[in-house]
Symmetry: C2
Subunit: 325 residues, 2 copies
Amino acid sequence: MIGLGLIGGSVLRALAAAGHRVLGYDADPATRATARTASAKVQEDHRWQVTASIGDTVRAADLVVIAVPLPAVGAVLDEINGHTGLVTDVTSVKGPIRNNVTARFVGGHPMAGRERSGFAASDGTLFDGCAWALCLEQETALDDWLTVAALVTGLGARVVPTTADEHDRAVAAVSHVPHLVASALAGVAGRDKLALTLGAGSFRDGTRVAATRAALVAAMCGGNAAAVRDALDALLTELTEARRLLDDDDPISALPGWLDEGGATRRAWPTRAGEPQAMAAEPDALRELGRAGGWVTAVAADRGSVTVVRPAAGQAGSGGRPRAE
Amino acid sequence: MIGLGLIGGSVLRALAAAGHRVLGYDADPATRATARTASAKVQEDHRWQVTASIGDTVRAADLVVIAVPLPAVGAVLDEINGHTGLVTDVTSVKGPIRNNVTARFVGGHPMAGRERSGFAASDGTLFDGCAWALCLEQETALDDWLTVAALVTGLGARVVPTTADEHDRAVAAVSHVPHLVASALAGVAGRDKLALTLGAGSFRDGTRVAATRAALVAAMCGGNAAAVRDALDALLTELTEARRLLDDDDPISALPGWLDEGGATRRAWPTRAGEPQAMAAEPDALRELGRAGGWVTAVAADRGSVTVVRPAAGQAGSGGRPRAE
């Protein structure tokens, strides 16, 4: 494990608790000391080791997990250049990483986060039930993908097979643009002190992630600029249409039709799971599963099949039926 | 109390629990029956009465509270035309109401809400600590305003003195536009089933209010169209600027400056309270208090002064200092 922040520390804890032998490294000596001290506090067979260098962590590893911030990934990849084992990562943008990797690589992204950051906030149960995107590119060895998928489903996560491009488009819509919008909403409201005092639930939730460190949001959005541009353009088109409807002679009658698409989507979210089914472990079928909103919950021991869950009928996305009102 | 939905029912319960004699009416017979049954279940001196007509509720009332949906307010005002007592309301848009009222009127808006609606969701403690806007117009009798303010502070609410125009501008920014944005975000994401599966905290919170009934959102936004247009234009200007920065050669370096305004505002929110102070009950000073982000916590028995709270130094709005990171 390279990088022992919130996500790296949580993966470290979760893998160690699942019985894996785990070594961890962080560039910050204080974080290493914290992680070392924390290991002594968990039960003996759930402990991890903290090493003094990346080399010591990587040398004999079956799997290297890169959990450093996006701008630092390049330097880590340079440093482990020559490592012949399998490498994965947990970074929120997948295209730029994919383009810089030379090792055997399976790009990953657990959709988990917290208000607090750093090892002190890490939690081995953070991934229980969380969606964890795993990139299955044309060049990815299926066996490597299944190795990481088996490990990650073992932490309780729902593995979503995808590609770097499709992942980056999807998270632009559900994560990166929402961060930009939260910041814009908070910024506009902040010009009126009366508004801030009257702000309640819709303001609290609609702007929550505006408090995220600007450097982190800039790295996510700027590192995924092409997809974020497209998603932001789609949003601007929708909001411009709402703006037009507000000019209608009777906006109270004009707006509900516009509100229906988002309302139906949100009322059908989170996607409700269908029954688990077995499926042959085949790359095209796995990618198609991800596109359809499904995920993998287990990998068979012989690697020939996986257990998958698809959205319950009529429940995913804009195809979903609005709940009766 | 006219209208026994979530807010009306909660005001009814809270006033009755505070020792006031309360009569309630709702146009829906089933709601009246529910409210009547619920009264028998609370302790004897906290009960209310449910009447069979608006007239029976209003006839001897010291204060009439209108708590019906915005499109129904006009009909209720017509029906109580001739009532000479004091009238207030709890509607989310204040300008259209103000323009239709003939009685002695103090427009109000408690900034409280819930996912669920209806009397069954009502709760007498809903207003504890909540901001409750009360309109103090040039034509409002200060004594009437103080009567309602005393009642509402008695329910634990923070009374924010404002005018219909200033209120409507403020809630456009912190409530109405956030509802439109949530709907647009959900609608765009819903076109990609993969995105919905990968949606996590920022999507959940950023779109929560998209599940609100379309008719309710349309009534709020369409009933406040002029102010919502202005607030939406300000938001579109900000998002268009973010869109421009994503075209920068180095968006990761270009975005933080843009993110800072919203980040500083959100990190300083909710507004932290300064020490309570006494202030003369004077209309201009009260309106200025509301504009500065302050509120009233109590009305003196002699009506000559009020206890007020202002934002703690350096904490309100865009004047607030960003938290150290």
